[in-house]
């Protein structure tokens, strides 16, 4: 490099040199920031895997928790409970959310539509612990905690996610497709059912998956509604149902290393479930976008 140096140096000096250095330093800093974020994710998942290794085995997901003072045991009750809670939430939130999304994208006047969208965004921003207090006041006070209450609380959290994603994917369906249906003399609702909905179907599946991924890990709304639960598998939603997030929460607050190990293992199960669903949702989303915007 230095062997063919010209008479006068082409190397920047003075002000230019300083600007170049500032440029390099700041661009390097930006790259480092991205690296930090990815590293934190790696650290988090790495710790969970490493710490869960000692406690996770087949018994862990097929057995109930050990009685107090004993070691071993599993989280079968929480797995079943979480499954039922998510199911209740889906049954409530999917139809309401999808219909609300259809309303904002297909029927509402622009002003109404943007108001409803803002309300949905605000609902999405309501802290989940507040949803817990809400359902506690609405359904639990004077009665007792139950799977129904927990499921409804989760449904409220799922609702804006499903409605907004549905609305966004419907907006991707080209207007020309709808117009073609209408121009053939087909009524609006039939056009919608036969033309628009099939094009947006993948997107609605994505919306549902995103909603499930979000509520599967929610702890706060369950604390007040479905946390004081039996240590055995319960399938009756009129009883409080155990769940994986609440189990992790209570185990993490305990001083016992044995329960910490169980918490890590439960966290691994939860993360694998949530990340898998998120990834599947992404794949569906990419496919749905391609299909909706014309293949």
């Amino acid at each position: 490099m230095s062997t063919t140096a010209p008479e006068f140096s082409l190397r920047a000096t003075g002000r230019v040199r300083r600007r170049q250095l500032v440029n390099r330093a700041s661009l390097l800093a930006a790259s480092l920031a991205a690296l930090v974020a990815v590293a934190v994710l790696g650290l988090l998942i790495g710790s969970v895997i490493a710490k869960a290794a000692s406690a996770i085995n087949l018994d862990f997901i097929t057995k109930d928790p050990a009685t107090f003072g004993m070691t071993g045991g599993g989280i079968a009750n929480a797995l079943v409970g979480t499954g039922i809670l998510i199911l209740i939430a889906m049954v409530i939130a999917v139809p309401i959310g999808v219909f609300a999304g259809i309303y904002t994208s297909e029927f509402a006047k622009p002003a109404v539509s943007s108001t409803v969208r803002l309300v949905l965004d605000v609902l999405n921003g309501v802290p989940s612990i507040i949803i817990g207090i809400f359902i506690f006041g609405l359904l639990v006070v004077g009665h007792k905690q139950s799977g129904w209450s927990g499921g409804i609380a989760l449904a409220i959290i799922m609702l804006p996610i499903i409605a907004r994603s549905t609305q966004e994917v419907l907006a991707l369906v080209p207007g020309t497709v709808k117009e073609a249906g209408l121009a053939l003399g087909i009524s609006r609702w039939r056009t919608f059912l036969a033309v628009v909905l099939p094009a947006a179907f993948g997107g609605i599946i994505t919306a549902t998956l995103l909603g499930v991924a979000r509520v599967a890990g929610e702890t706060a709304p369950l604390l007040f509604t479905s946390s004081i639960a039996a240590n055995t598998v319960t399938t009756d939603p009129s009883q409080a149902l155990p769940s994986i997030p609440v189990t992790i929460f209570t185990y993490s607050e305990s001083p016992s290393p044995d329960q910490h190990a169980q918490a890590w293992a439960a966290a691994l199960v939860l993360i694998v479930f949530v990340l898998l669903i998120s990834i599947v949702a992404r794949v569906f989303a990419a496919r749905a976008r391609r299909r909706a915007t014309g293949r």
Partner: protein, 332 residues
Amino acid sequence: MSATARSETDLTSARRSLGDRLGDRGLHGLTMLAAAICVVTVGLIAYKVFDQAGSAISTFGLGFLTSSQWNPVTNQFGAADFIFGTAVTTAGALIIATPLSIAIALYLTELAPRFLRTPIATLVEMLAAIPSVVIGLWGILVMGPFIQDHLGPWLHSAFGWFPLFTGSPAQVGLLSAILVLTIMVIPIISAVTREIFATCPNELKEGALALGATRWEMVRLVMLPYARNGIVGAVILGMGRAVGEAIAVTQVIGGTAGIHASLFGSGDTLASRIASQYQGATSNIQISSIAYLGAILLVIALIANVIARLIVGGVRVGGRRTRPAVPAGAPA
């Protein structure tokens, strides 16, 4: 769209069968009902939270906000300590997360090799998908000991003269809560900022480069001013998230009331106090006071979200990020 709909109705209304008219009305009505349920739910949440807080509001009034008592024995309750905890942890998290998030957004829109952009953006978003209870578990069992043994002592020896870093580092405390919240808001702020950066017109950026600006100068003189409002919106959105996070904060903050300067000390936020009281509330006035904390939290979250959405929404329109247009040659 509404224009085509109207003309369609006008043309065919005379000839349409009963079934089609019912179908149209039915679908319209059904979807409107669903949207109405969503709107009513938000109203009902606000009503029910304030309703439960009613007796605490009438007993303590606005003095609740400035009283730092939380005494279930004498039934005296106040929120000052938790408002303080919320303010400190949220501010701390935003101070760390904002520059990091902007830098990440910058890296993803300007610097990263094209083949790395989507994977890294996905990984950052995955951070948002990790349940808060898992981040809290990690915070208390992995990060806590690290703060106590390494980060804390280092901060103390380097900045011990500064009130924030006095006292002895512990596994739990305000600092842990700040770091946990930082992890949780980075994906939000960086995702929104990235979207805004992506809308920055190329002509502006190329203009700056053509005038001899370095890439950093282009960022500082063109992109940051362009994205300023949107970044403010993104930060407010992150604030809403940090203020409302209950579980992870409960796990790492220590759960003691008190106002002190040191970040090594433990504390409690509005949300974490609510979460930690879920089994412990005995008297009606205590339950009502918990709901009062919730009401304060709800008001903050609502204001933050409305403002943020209005700002970010406006930016999207201004930045021409309306709906993705139909590709011109797309076969229908």
